[in-house]
């Protein structure tokens, strides 16, 4: 269980305490940013237990690289970058695996576990979003995830993905085109 006293602590303090080996402080960081990481990882890989493993890896990587965090950028941006890198690596790994050992199509390598939705409408909406995202090329999918699920601006997206603003804008319009084609079929 996470210590309640850290609920209102500044993130810089949490980072310092975590670096000093304070388990509760790092637990608070995990609590604060797990939803954000879930949106990126599950948005990119689908809602499955494997995505959960990548989510855990994100925070483990964060813990071991906390000493490199200088506080120049927001902690959320730093975590987001780790999440994006690990997710893209996982996609590459899966692509290699599936090209060698499976006949599955690209968009079939992402699992989707139907959660319990209170209405049929919500379930349908969730399925549409999942299918639309998984039908996209990963380099477009990451941009759509950043904007549609995380609510980042184009500038923030460019900063997180380490891409020039122009590249993000052009990928955005190509992603929109791809999405239209996918959504027509759904």
């Amino acid at each position: 269980m996470i210590n309640e006293s850290y609920k209102v602590t500044e993130e810089v303090e949490l980072v310092k305490a975590s670096l000093n080996g304070d388990k509760n402080a790092f637990g608070e960081i995990v609590n604060r940013y797990q939803k954000m990481v879930a949106r990126t990882v599950k948005g990119m890989l689908g809602d499955s237990v494997f995505a959960e493993d990548i989510g855990q890896e994100v925070f483990i990587n964060l813990y071991y690289s906390l000493s490199e965090f200088r506080g120049e950028a927001k902690l959320s941006t730093y975590i987001q970058k780790i999440a994006v890198n690990l997710t893209l690596n996982e996609i590459k790994r899966r692509k290699r695996f599936f090209s060698l050992f499976s006949q599955k199509a690209n968009n079939e390598m992402y699992e989707f576990e139907i959660a319990d939705y209170d209405t049929e409408e919500r379930k349908e909406a969730s399925e549409i979003v999942h299918k639309a995202l998984m039908g996209l090329d990963p380099k477009f999918r990451i941009i759509v995830t950043m904007r549609m699920l995380q609510g980042y601006t184009t500038k923030e997206t460019a900063e997180i993905l380490d891409l020039p603003l122009g590249t993000v804008l052009s990928r955005l319009s190509r992603a929109q085109e791809q999405l239209r084609n996918i959504l027509v079929k759904l």
Partner: protein
């Protein structure tokens, strides 16, 4: 929100001038939210700190091994020094023969030993 409205919302989120915070908020209201399972943070902490513990144990083992190595090496060096001193005191030199324990009257001693005529 019906199917076509959801599709429109998805497409509009990619407009360069879209209010992305508003779009993601609307999607979340429609049940499009991603979360990790319950006790996610506890699992991360368990994984993390049990791994740290394993690493610490490994480091301690290496430390003990280093310490044991130094003790064995020092004991060995001390034994060699004692041996050299005793050889020098007995033989009076560090010649090859003195290391082998053979004195100058080597031939006679061997003959005596072999014939039993002491």
């Amino acid at each position: 929100m019906n199917k076509s409205e959801i599709k429109k919302l998805i497409i509009s989120s990619l407009n360069a001038d879209a209010d992305t915070v508003e779009v993601s908020g609307k999607l979340e209201k429609e049940g499009i939210s991603y979360n990790f399972s319950k006790n996610f943070s506890d699992r991360v902490l368990n994984k993390l700190f049990s791994a740290v513990l394993t690493v610490n144990r490994e480091v301690e083992f290496v430390k003990y091994m280093n310490f044991a190595f130094y003790r064995i090496a020092l004991t060995g060096v001390a034994a060699i020094i004692v041996l050299l001193i005793s050889i020098f005191l007995r033989e009076g030199s560090f010649s090859f023969n003195s290391f082998l324990g053979l004195s100058d009257n080597y031939d006679e001693s061997i003959v005596c030993l072999l014939t039993g005529n002491m």
